[in-house]
Amino acid sequence: MIDKRVKTLGEAVAGVKDGATVLVAGFGAVGVADHLLEALHDQGARDLTIVANNAGNGDVGLARLINSGRVSKVICSYPRSGDYSAFLNAYRSKSLELELVPQGTISERMRCAAAGLGGFFSPVSAGTQLADGKETREIDGRLHVFEKPLKGDIALLKADKADRWGNLTYLKSARNFNPVMAMAADLSVVEVNSIVALGALDPEAVATPSIFIDRVVVVGANA
């Protein structure tokens, strides 16, 4: 019987290696796998490359990983959000590298990897600093930039409901990067508010199909 549920947050993030690329879902504080990020802190992997929209807040989650010196690179669109002092300090001390990518290009590069494609041409960022050093091509009279697929070793996801196969639904704007990151990592791990019986999720309304999910852990009141 397929059962992707794991009992502890430790099991959920087991096996992450030093140097891993970690896809961290969420936009601002919404749709972020706070518990899995704390578990990754406890797990101990170092030299991490983080792919996320923002770069952490306060001293929790991603910010705590940065403060603990565990992150060597951040690929994100907007580090300057809320109290981003953890990122700012590491950035200023040059202990951390920043790759700044337009928000739609980040999500499209991950979808590109998920879809087994080798890269794509995008008009976004053409003629700007963020295209420096990138291959360009004029297509239909418009300058395009070549963008490469972006794949994760692990994705840390937050959803609302899951079944034991790993089918997922989300709540409102907490969907954000989660479905894309779920598709783009070798190992996709999700924390959910509750587990429902197989068949309880409407087959027309599953937002992330089971094929993309490897481990499910319940957090919060139902844990």
Partner: protein
């Protein structure tokens, strides 16, 4: 000598931009003054607001106590969904932006050039890390990109320039500029002034604008209803 004109308030600027959003339009409002625009859409028009974080059909701010922790806008403020709205994931939200599915993208800016270049993502301050967010996607993708900004800097320096001095967000994309002094179109023949606030002259406006301005044949007064202004 005191100027004989009154610049628009931020709310009046937002009001003006809102008047040009047509019935049925799908619109993305950038962070800052553009966000205010949603409140000034004429009551008889249905305009659907898109948020980069996967909300199609942004509604007004929730009442105190009715905030949903899972429902925020691109500025990370609590928001609501209007009837008929729906949620999508990030790749689909940016497919809508990049693929030309938005009728209007209304952006804030530091600078705009006479050929429609826009600079709104970085001041290139070496002390702070840069952040781009969805700015480049929004500037590159919509059917029509419009800018809403103060006409000059706080020190009075022009922000509508022959060439942007700050790093570009996108080149040649801006079609219309709403400022606190005027409404201008970016045309192949240069910048055309469509409206100016009462008391403004083309000569005065030109003195605060680097590229050459032309008055539209239909040049008229930019006069928001003061009752609506804050």
């Amino acid at each position: 000598m005191m100027p004989s004109y009154q610049p628009l308030t931020r709310e009046q600027m937002a009001w003006r931009a809102a008047q040009d959003l047509p019935e049925g339009a799908f619109v993305n409002l950038g962070i800052g003054i553009p966000t205010l625009t949603a409140s000034y859409v004429p009551a008889d028009r249905e305009v659907i607001f898109h948020s980069e974080n996967g909300v199609l059909g942004l509604g007004p701010k929730p009442k105190p106590g009715e905030q949903d922790e899972n429902l925020i806008d691109a500025g990370k403020n609590y928001t609501t969904l209007i009837t008929g709205g729906c949620y999508v994931h990030h790749a689909d939200a940016f497919l809508m932006i990049r693929g030309g599915h938005l009728d209007v993208s209304l952006l804030g800016a530091f600078e705009v050039s006479e050929t429609g270049d826009i600079a709104n993502w970085t001041t290139d301050d070496p002390a702070f890390p840069p952040g781009v967010g969805g700015a480049m996607d929004l500037a590159a993708g919509a059917k029509e990109v419009r800018v809403l900004m103060e006409h000059t800097s706080k020190s009075g320096a022009p922000r509508i320039l022959r060439h942007c001095s700050l790093p570009l967000t996108a080149a040649g994309v801006v079609k219309r500029i709403y400022t606190n002094l005027a409404v201008l179109d970016v045309t192949p023949a240069g910048l055309v002034v469509l409206e100016m606030v009462p008391g403004m002259t083309l000569q005065m406006l030109q003195s605060m604008t680097e590229p050459a301005l032309t008055a539209a044949a239909s040049l008229r007064s930019l006069q928001p209803p003061t009752a609506r202004a804050a």
